[in-house]
């Protein structure tokens, strides 16, 4: 440009060029301004509440947010802080969040209690819950747990193990679990509940080898209760079904991106953990992300990623009804919304 300007010899030509340049710049400025304004007005506000504070269990959503995947799908997303004192189900119910990550069991209980929530995508395909005992305690099978002190979390998290004990017809001494594994490590309880992607690894990294533990996966005991799913209220779908489609697509895309770029996903998760002032143990988050990859991947013949398998659904509903946890459960089609929008 400079070289062209220099080549102008007459002052008239020079003035002409400067005026042209000014007009060009003004036009460019106006177009950028209007574009961003349009973008802002086009994005729909939406919010998501995960089950817990930021961790790799929710990597897909944080990655989708951080990498602008939600924005690309036209959503101005806010991820609310989960964790103690922030019940995801209640937030959804009260309208504080448009979407929530909930367990299928929780969702069915709330549906039973007349909350019109709908599964829009099933992220974790199988139960990651385990019952862990020390080999030194001599407990090998579920039957061996009879009369033993078993640590159980409160609320919905106790449903699968309780159901398992009922099914095996054994009574255990239930001990409420807090958020640490110390009660188990110190021998305060014989068996502890644990999530494969979380507490199991914490126990390993407290100096107990996997070989010293006897771990029973609930999913291998016929208790395959799919866990994290994405839920919204029926009225949200009625109001803006396109938003729901966009949300599901973007969330699944976020997961796919996270699995394809695990290191980057880990950085993003840790960034949000720091923002939420939660201690971030990198190797633990890596383990969690790796396990999520195992858990999110659908089993053979169970449909694509993010699909709630109807047989799993029936099995959970049936079990919960039989155990008296719910009176009834809706039809699969009424409960699960299969979006056509895929990532």
């Amino acid at each position: 440009m400079l070289r062209i300007a220099m080549s102008y010899k007459s002052p008239n030509q020079m003035q002409l060029f400067v005026r042209f340049l000014g007009i060009l710049l003004m036009f460019m400025f106006c177009s950028v301004y209007t574009q961003s304004a349009i973008a802002q007005t086009l994005l729909k506000k939406a919010s998501l509440i995960p089950l817990w504070s930021p961790q790799a269990q929710f990597a897909g959503y944080y990655v989708a947010l951080d990498k602008g995947i939600y924005a690309r799908h036209g959503i101005d997303m806010t991820i609310r802080n989960g964790g103690a004192g922030h019940s995801a189900a209640e937030s959804l119910q009260s309208g504080q969040a448009d979407f929530a990550v909930l367990w299928l069991t929780t969702a069915l209980q709330h549906r039973n209690a007349d909350t019109k929530l709908v599964n829009v995508s099933q992220i974790i395909q199988r139960s990651s819950m385990m019952l862990i005992s020390k080999k030194s305690s001599g407990i090998r099978t579920v039957e061996d747990m009879k009369g033993k002190k078993v640590g159980l979390w409160g609320g919905d998290l106790s449903i699968p193990p309780r159901t398992l004990f009922l099914r095996h017809g054994i009574a255990v001494k239930e001990v409420p679990l807090s958020h640490t594994v110390n009660l188990f490590l110190r021998g305060g309880i014989d068996v502890t509940s644990a999530m494969w992607y979380n507490e199991y690894h914490v126990i390993l990294n407290s100096g107990v080898d996997a070989e010293q533990l006897n771990a029973v996966f609930l999913s291998e005991q016929g208790m395959n209760f799919p866990e994290d799913g994405l839920y919204t209220l029926e009225k949200t779908i009625t109001r803006d079904s396109a938003l729901v489609d966009a949300f599901v697509s973007a969330s699944l895309e976020g997961w796919q991106y996270a699995f394809a770029h695990p290191d980057e996903a880990l950085e993003i998760v840790i960034k949000y953990m720091h923002l939420a002032q939660v201690p971030a143990n990198r190797i633990h988050q890596k383990w969690m992300l790796d396990r999520m990859q195992d858990l999110v991947k659908p089993g053979k013949g169970k449909g694509g990623m993010g699909t709630l398998n109807s047989m799993d659904y029936e099995a959970v509903g049936n079990t919960m009804q039989r155990e008296g946890l719910i009176q009834s459960y809706p039809d699969y089609t009424a409960f699960s919304r299969r979006s056509n929008a895929r990532p």
């Binding site: 409420p176 305060g188 143990n281």
Partner: protein, 644 residues
């Protein structure tokens, strides 16, 4: 490879290499030993340091434990009002500045029927003792589910908690000592609640962190779960366990080490520390909490002095080796320099110049001896060459004189053939090949009168100059006496007497002397010890049978007899000396008389020159390059008849 290098280079290479090897080995051994000693000392020091730290932490923990247990026991004896209870906690806190907070937390409905949960808590906040109720302040998890309550409750014994962040209580990181207390009711002990005392993590970690070891060494504190409590890696504190770090580093040995630590073992290990430095660590348990205290000595800093010393030694050694190399170089040079000049001098001498300046001998060592030996060798050589030159000159002179003598001798013998072209009655041919420059053989022929031809062949014993001189005398005498006396026996007798007189040298000669009457072909001949000649007649060839006469020279008055033979025209008489029949081939075989007879039988008989040349060449052929040992002389005479 080395074989082609110079001595200087070889010496330097070998000696330097060996010195470096010895030095490196010594240095290595020294380093290794120093290290071992240092490590042994270090283990003691590290243990002492760790144990003193453990004791300091332990004493703090034990005092807190004792106070807490005291409160718990007091809760079991007698009744108390709420006011008394609160003042008891407050007093405990006031009397024990180490305790940050203290609580008496009751089992549900155990304090009074009206309250399900009851847990008064006093703690220090900004220097003042503050009071809260934990059943209210813990928002999300009731105190009965906290580790500090639940674990001693389930275990029924005193417990120190894992350090935790007391979210909702004192809101700091702390560790809690919890002691359960009971109530006797109907013979059974029923849990009433838990007495707690908190100590802030800061107070412990500050003590640990304040320990300075060398430059970057440190003390560290791990919890029972291996959680990092005090460590230079600030980010790891209350976030990473020893095991999570081991996992992220894929280091199973680190995990094994961590297991030993959390299992309450103590030990001294060499490992790569969490900050990634090769280090020595001593770890020991803090028994009341099950925590682990570790002191870490970075190896590099520890060995810095040893390394510095080794470096200095290496420098000194290097300088020493350099000096040694220089010394070797100068000694080697002092040896090889004269050697090299000797070699150069030898080369010059080899080209014939003996006037070379030899290096000056300065020392009495082997090189000095060699140089002086060389010097005397040069002198001897010079002397020898000088003598040789003189001898050669003398020999050459004699040689040239002998050459003249040869010519003279040759010129004495009749050499012109045909010798008598105007006498067709006979042919005569002769040849003499001396073995040396001058010979002892001779022949002669001359007319005594008109018709009588005297011819003779003689062989003086011995060869060379004496023989030649004797021959001269004999020949002259024979010719002069021959012409005077005219009869062979008389000629020989007369000449013998002359020769034998005053024959001090005892020389002698064999002579065959004959006179041919050219008219009749009659030959009169006498023999003085000479080989019998051959007669070639029309009937054949044969040796003449002679009366043997004594050789000329040694004895006076020897008698000789004239014999007679008549040659028919065409007959030939062949005379020879023993140089023909005694010619030897390399196998020391003699040519012999029979071979001579055979050669003559085969050969041409008409032309005398051809005949003699053939015999000569046959003898040469037989000798086959063996040196000629004696003069070879032949004379042939052919009678052709008077008027043929």
């Amino acid at each position: 490879m080395l074989a082609h290098k110079s001595i200087v280079l070889k010496l330097i290479l070998v000696i330097t290499f060996c010195s470096v090897l010895i030095f490196a080995f010594t240095l290595g051994y020294n380093y290794y030993e120093s290290r071992l000693i240092l490590e042994k000392e270090l283990e003691n020091n590290a243990r002492n340091l760790a144990m003193s730290l453990v004791n300091r932490v332990e004493s703090e923990l034990v005092s807190v434990t004792k106070v807490t247990e005291g409160v718990a026991r007091s809760m079991e004896s007698g009744s108390y009002t709420e006011k008394e209870l609160l003042s008891r906690i407050r007093t405990t806190l006031k009397d024990n500045p180490r305790i940050y907070g203290s609580s008496i937390a009751f089992e549900p409905y155990a304090f009074r029927k009206a309250n399900r949960l009851y847990a008064p808590y006093f703690y220090r906040e900004k220097g003042k003792i503050t009071f809260i109720r934990l059943e209210d302040s813990y928002q999300y998890v009731p105190y009965v589910y906290w580790d500090w309550y639940q674990i001693p409750r389930e275990l029924g014994k005193r417990e120190w908690s894992e350090p935790y962040y007391d979210d909702g209580g004192a809101n700091i990181a702390m560790a809690t000592c919890s002691v359960p207390f009971y109530e006797e009711r109907g013979g059974t002990r029923i849990l009433k609640g838990i007495v707690t005392s908190d100590i802030p993590l800061d107070s412990l970690t500050e003590l640990i962190s304040s320990v300075k070891i060398l430059k970057t060494g440190y003390a560290a504190l791990l919890s029972r779960n291996g959680m990092v409590l005090a460590h230079p890696l600030k980010d790891a504190i209350m976030n990473e366990t020893f095991f999570s770090i081991a996992e992220s580093r894929h280091d199973t040995s680190l995990r094994d080490l961590g297991k030993k630590m959390v299992q309450g073992e103590s030990g001294f290990v060499h490992y790569t520390s969490l900050v990634g430095v090769k280090s020595w660590m001593y770890f020991a348990p803090i028994s009341s909490t099950g925590w682990t205290l570790a002191v870490v000595f970075p190896e590099e800093e520890l060995l810095e002095n040893v390394r510095k010393m080794s470096l200095t030694m290496a420098g000194m050694g290097l300088a020493g080796i350099l000096l040694l190399t220089l010394a070797v170089y100068s000694i080697a040079r002092s040896i090889t320099k004269p050697l090299r000049s000797l070699a150069d001098a030898t080369e010059v001498m080899a080209s014939g110049n003996f006037d070379v300046e030899l290096p000056v001998v300065r020392s009495n060592d082997e090189v000095g001896v060699l140089t002086s030996s060389f010097q005397s060798m040069v002198t001897s050589l010079k002397e020898y060459i000088k003598n040789l030159t003189e001898t050669t000159a003398a020999k050459e002179r004699i040689q040239s004189e002998l050459k003249v003598a040869t010519d003279i001798q040759a010129s004495l013998l009749p050499r012109l053939f045909p010798a008598f072209p105007d006498r067709p009655e006979f042919d005569i041919f002769a040849s003499m090949d001396p073995a040396k420059e001058v010979g002892g053989d001779f022949y002669d022929f001359f007319f005594i009168d008109e018709h009588n031809l005297c011819f003779l062949i003689a062989d003086v014993a011995d060869k060379g100059v004496p023989a030649a001189l004797y021959m001269m005398v004999a020949k002259t005498l024979l010719k002069s006496e021959g012409q005077r006396l005219g009869e062979p026996d008389m000629i020989l007798s007369y000449v013998n007497n002359i020769l034998a007189t005053d024959n001090d040298s005892c020389m002698f000669a064999t002579v065959f002397c004959a006179i041919l009457d050219t008219r009749s072909g009659e030959v009169r001949f006498a023999n003085a010890g000479h080989n019998p000649p051959l007669i070639i007649e029309s009937q054949g060839i044969r040796y003449l049978t002679l009366k043997s006469g004594f050789v000329l020279g040694p004895v006076l008055n020897s008698l000789y007899q004239t014999e007679r033979l008549t040659m028919q025209p065409g007959d030939t008489l062949f005379l020879y000396t023993d140089g023909v029949t005694e010619a030897k081939n390399p196998e020391e075989e003699l040519y012999g008389e029979s071979r001579l007879l055979q050669t003559l039988q085969e050969g041409p008989l008409d032309d005398l020159a051809d005949m003699i040349h053939r015999v000569r060449s046959e003898v040469k052929k037989f000798a086959n390059s063996a040196p000629q040992s004696d003069d070879v002389t032949m004379v042939a005479i052919k009678y052709r008849g008077e008027r043929a």
